[in-house]
C-alpha cells in the first residue's frame, strides 16, 4: 500500500518537474545567437510552434544569446524560424544559419541576423578651415576643409546617436548642436557644427 502512495507522489513530483521545464521531456538546449533585438517583438518558432519572444538585452547592443525555454530531445528534428520582428527591423530581412537539423547534442550554433530599418544622420558645418573628424561611436567620418555639410553612417531606428568631435581642425575649435538623440522613423538633418575662429 505504502508503495502505491510513494509511486503516486513520485509521479506527481515528476510531473511538477516536467511542467517547470516547460512541458517537454527533452534535456537538450536549442538556441544560438541573434542580432536585431533592441525592442520587444522578436518571436521565434521551432517546428512551427513553441513561440518564444526574445528578451531585449540590457546593454542596448541588440545582440544576445537565446535558448528556447522548451528543451528538446536527442534525435528530435528542429526547424527554427522567425515568426515576427520588432517594428524597427526590415520585414523578411533576417538571415538564418544552422537553424534546422536533428539534435544530437545541445544545439547552440543557430545564428540569426536581422537588418534594422535605418535613417540618415546629416547636418551642416560653418567656418571649417581644416580637416575635422566627427564620430558617432564606432562610425568615423573625416570632413575636409571648407565642407558645409556632412553625413554620418545611417542609424538604425530607435538607436541612440551621439556625435562627438574626435579631432578638432588645426587651429580651430568646433561645437555641435543637436548632436544627441534617438533615431525615429524620419531622417535627422538638423545637426549643426560651428567652427571658430
Amino acid at each position: 500500500m505504502k508503495s502505491s502512495y510513494l509511486r503516486a507522489s513520485a509521479a506527481l513530483a515528476c510531473a511538477a518537474l516536467l511542467s517547470a521545464c516547460g512541458g517537454d521531456d527533452g534535456q537538450l538546449l536549442l538556441g544560438g545567437q541573434i542580432s536585431g533585438v533592441t525592442k520587444p517583438g522578436m518571436i521565434l518558432t521551432n517546428n512551427g510552434g513553441s513561440d518564444y519572444e526574445i528578451p531585449v538585452p540590457a546593454n542596448g547592443t541588440g545582440v544576445t544569446t537565446f535558448y528556447f525555454p522548451n528543451l528538446i530531445s536527442s534525435d528530435d528534428k528542429y526547424n527554427v524560424q522567425v515568426k515576427s520582428v520588432p517594428s524597427n527591423i526590415v520585414p523578411d530581412s533576417c538571415q538564418l544559419v544552422n537553424n534546422s537539423g536533428r539534435a544530437g547534442f545541445n544545439v547552440t550554433t543557430i545564428q540569426i541576423a536581422c537588418e534594422y530599418q535605418t535613417q540618415a544622420l546629416t547636418g551642416t558645418i560653418s567656418g571649417l578651415k581644416n580637416e575635422l573628424v566627427l564620430i558617432n561611436g564606432s562610425d568615423r567620418q573625416t570632413i575636409p576643409a571648407g565642407a558645409t555639410t556632412f553625413a554620418m553612417a545611417r542609424v538604425a531606428q530607435d538607436a541612440p546617436y551621439g556625435i562627438s568631435i574626435l579631432a578638432n581642425p588645426a587651429g580651430q575649435s568646433c561645437t555641435i548642436a543637436n548632436g544627441i538623440g534617438t533615431m525615429g522613423a524620419a531622417d535627422v538633418n538638423n545637426v549643426v557644427v560651428t567652427c571658430a575662429p
Binding site: S138, P160, I180
Partner: protein, 213 residues
Amino acid sequence: MKSFLIRPALALALAASLAACGGSDKAEFTVSGSVTKLVYENLVLTNNGVQINIAPPAKAGDPVPYAFAEKLEYGDTYNVTVARQPAHQTCVPVPPPGGYYVNNADTAGRLVLIDINFDCTIDTHLIGGTITGLTASGLVLANGSTGGTYAATAPTAGTTTPIVYALAPVAYGTTYGVTVSAQPTGQVCTVVNPTGTMQDADVSNINVTCVAA
C-alpha cells in the same frame, strides 16, 4: 616454447611486409592549414617545437595558407598551437570546413589530409569610468548608435560612492564616443575623456559628473 618461435617469426613477417610497402615511399604527411581574418603581424604557430611566422594576407580578408616544412610519418603526433598571438588579435584553432571538432592535435595518418584552421578576432576592451553626483534616475549613456547603452540606476539616498560603469567592449582601432543620451530627472551630467580610438587596454577614465540642473 612454441610461442618463442612464433613471436620472432611474426616480427619477421611484419618487417617483411613493411619493407614491401616501399621503404622509401613511406606515406608522408604535411601539417598544413589556413588562418582566417588575420590582420596584424607577428602570429607564430608551433608544432612539436618548430615555429613558423604567419604574415597577414596581401589582400585584406583573404585566408593565409601555411605548411610546416617538416613532413610527418604515419603515427607521428602533431599539435599545432599559437606560440605568439599577433598584435591586437587573438587566434584560436577552429574546426575544419564542415567539421564539428577542433583538430589541431592528432596522429598523422588518421586523416588523409592534415588541415588545421585558425581563426583570428580583433581584441576588444571595455570602456567605462565612474559616475559621481547622481541622485535621480533616468541617466542613459551611449557609445554612438551601435556601441550599446548604459542605463544608470539612482543610488539610494545618502550614497556618495561613485558608480562604476562599463559600456560594451570596443575593438582595437575602433573609435568610441560616449555621450549622455538621456539626462537624469532634474540633473545635468557631463562626460570627461569621452572620445578616443581603442588601443590595447580597457579605458576606465570616461568619468561622468552630475549636478542639479
